[in-house]
Symmetry: C2
Subunit: 466 residues, 2 copies
């Protein structure tokens, strides 16, 4: 891209958005040009634009389409696959200032939000009306709902309550292709059911900004849960035993609201940092949260204790101490930042059929050993969604190289077990190769067909996903 082209692009942007919201400063640009994915390539953007309205987004898309300037949309940048990383010669479209909750419809249990609303802010706002928005990625205190939609974010409670896509009833988006670049379209509905036409809403969810820019989201809500959740804890002398406990819980048809795993490396890192009083001497800890009210909840908790015990737990019990239960889930939430303190963390996000969780844990151990890589594992174990975290000493290039080999082998192991290379983080940049190995050629051809139909100019987040 020549300096002249850049100048004329910037001039175009400034015609449609006030100049003070078109950032060119290299430091500002650098900060807005990447997400949290370790070692994913970051391109050199020509500008970052903070938008406030759908009309601005539409005008920007028209300008960028005319000049063939790539657009990378971003919210809070908490992604873990590089999906929001800038591309060379493109702009970063920062939607974090579009953060109004436009409507909370208590009559129909839904809300309408702008994409920059933070997940936890929405949770708090709807809680005031006795309502609940379940999807709870670990990044919920910072992540925007637009980003959640882009990646089809999951979290702890999706085991029982589903992922982001299950809550998106409708969208507004600025698109291109057959609708014309810069067209704002309404997709989906406000009703609880509807089959008028193809499910374009579901198609946009998880598309990582490659099919258009989401400008408004209509989300289904649930009544706030009633009653007091129960916590079941089990300690295991091996990850594989813990995996067998998870398989047992699934086979028995138990559906806790969360079923999380932490391995010893995680527990040690959290304990060293925060001194929550969690015993870090076991190989794996399983935490189940049960939110069924009354007797049903009590029975479910007891059945989970039994499954843990039958799988060979060192000990398993329902925690009757709220402080202890809270500390355990706090340890789960803090595992990732606790490990990041020790050095760069390459985050894996494989998902396998739940009966294969023990086999996947065995693979993780084998791969860690084969490549001499330290791997800590946290997992939404009940979903079969495992996050092996590859730890590398800061500045150790050889360790980094070994970690990247292990990363790809973990993907292959998950595929071989009938799983997927990404359960909830998205393909972004880091999983493109893995996705090509997971999906058959015909599937990829159809994916490409969708992309080409929606974005024939290839300006929406090019190089991501496909």
């Amino acid at each position: 891209m020549t300096a002249d082209t850049v100048a004329s692009a910037v001039e175009g942007l400034r015609r449609v958005v006030p100049p003070e919201r078109v950032a060119l400063d290299p430091d500002v640009l650098r900060g807005l040009s990447h997400d949290e994915a370790e070692w994913a390539p970051v391109g050199a953007a020509i500008a970052a634009v903070r938008v406030r309205t759908e009309a601005e987004v539409a005008a920007l898309v028209r300008v960028c389409a005319e000049l063939r300037v790539p657009i990378v949309a971003r919210g809070a940048g908490t992604g873990l696959s590089g999906g929001a990383n800038a591309v060379d010669g493109g702009i970063v479209l920062d939607l974090s200032q579009m953060r109004e909750i436009l409507e909370i419809d208590t009559e129909n249990l839904l809300c309408v939000v702008q994409p920059g609303v933070v997940n936890n802010d929405l949770k708090a706002a709807v809680a005031e009306h006795g309502l609940w928005y379940p999807p709870d990625p670990a990044s919920a205190p910072w992540a925007t709902l637009g980003g959640n939609v882009a990646t089809n974010a999951g979290g702890l409670c999706c085991l029982k309550y589903g992922v982001t896509r299950d809550y998106v009833l409708g969208l507004r988006a600025v698109v291109g292709g057959p609708a014309g670049y810069g067209s704002a379209v309404a997709l989906g509905r406000r009703t609880s059911k509807g089959v008028a036409g193809y499910d374009l809403t579901g198609l946009m969810v998880g598309s990582e900004g490659t099919l258009g820019i989401v400008t408004e989201i209509t989300l289904r809500l649930r009544p706030a849960p009633v009653g007091h959740p129960r916590t079941v804890v089990g300690a295991f002398s091996s990850l594989v035993d813990a995996g067998r406990a998870v398989a047992g819980v699934t086979r028995r048809g138990l559906t806790p609201a969360a079923l999380e795993l932490l391995d010893r490396v995680c527990l040690e890192a959290v304990e060293e940092w925060k001194q929550l009083g969690v015993d870090p001497t076991t190989a794996a800890l399983l935490l189940a949260r049960v939110d069924s009210p009354g007797t049903a909840g009590a029975e479910e908790a007891t059945a989970i204790v039994t499954e843990f015990t039958d799988a060979g737990a060192i000990w398993a019990t329902e925690s009757t101490d709220d402080v202890e239960a809270e500390a355990l889930f706090e340890a789960r939430r803090l595992a990732y930042p606790a490990l990041e303190r020790l050095g760069p963390v390459l985050t894996e996000d494989v998902c396998v059929p739940r009966s294969k969780v023990p086999a996947m844990f065995a693979q993780i151990e084998a791969i860690a050993s084969r490549h001499d890589v330290r791997i800590a594992t946290v997992a939404h174990a009940g979903d079969g969604n495992l996050h092996p975290l590859l730890l590398t000493p800061p500045g150790d290039d050889d360790a980094r190289h070994r970690a990247m080999l292990a990363f790809e082998e973990l993907l292959d192991a998950a595929i071989a077990l009938g799983g997927t290379v990404t359960g909830e983080h998205g393909v972004g940049l880091l999983k493109r190769g893995g996705m090509l190995r997971e999906l058959d050629a015909g599937n990829i051809a159809l994916q490409r067909g969708v992309k080409d139909a929606f974005d024939p100019l290839g300006i929406f987040n090019p190089g991501k996903v496909l």
Copy 2:
């Protein structure tokens, strides 16, 4: 189409499928050329082909692509929008013989089926393993899962348990377009979560055979429900009061497993036919089924009685008599066939935000009166999904004309209330006009883009949906 072209097409079909499964007999063809939609146009097919394997489907699609012969896939033909109606010069692809349950995975709570498996047959098969496949369209005793997938079928229990799309984890399909006509592709996954690429599985669900031919379906299952369901009944002196009760139940965050409505015309027709002992003197009956176990279920039932009473019910009570409760739900199931005995029934399928149910009922009454059309209403009221059934005396062309005007006005009324023209039956032929009025032009352009990308030759169920 000339006789020569037809002959060469038939010859082509017989090269890839044994001749005894290529039906040309006009009577056989007529029987396989339409679904249950009243007054939807039916084209003249050149042949009906019974397939047994994916390889046969693939070979047929290649032949048809080469000769530009349209393909209309069908299962049991229980659709209500004309989606499976034959088109001129096309073939009918009958998938009802592909009816093997290929796998029931009790470890991972999923199953793999061929598209011709009947919904209730799958329910029975998985029940033997303590598992449950929830989607329950009224046609479940006959409808195939392939058809359920094609229309994204709903039913009674989707209020609490979701629609077909919520259960489809993955598909195999024979597609065209960028993958090449006749390619068999695997879409989706076997894991509970996954975000590798665009949600093409969700896109295929509800696409009514216009994007390809589904040849295998991987479905999520649930543990069989525990405990004894409760039934709450309320009788109302007006449909609008019943609608207010529905809105009240939603607003209070209650989630019964079903919340169904029957109006007086339905009750009379059922009683006259079957003498179930249901009192047909009220304007509307609401039936709620509560399946939460234990105290929670008891509290939910009581709360629903209260909402019914507050909305002005003549009476409302939890039925403690199993025989009575079963008779009431049987009346619900029999409403449609009972009305069909009286003459042609044009089935509406609007869905509105649940707070708008009373307003929609008022519109139904006004439109019935304005066009002098007898309308019976059954409804998945808790979803806001109403089925006004337009009754016409057999052979009365003027009544039929008035019914068709009322049909379109009902669609407009639903759109005006923020609803959709089809909650669960699909667009097919009958809702194409309504869909164009519901969705904005940009949305339709994107739909068209998807269709063109997946089926540039336009041979997959042409003229349906779009």
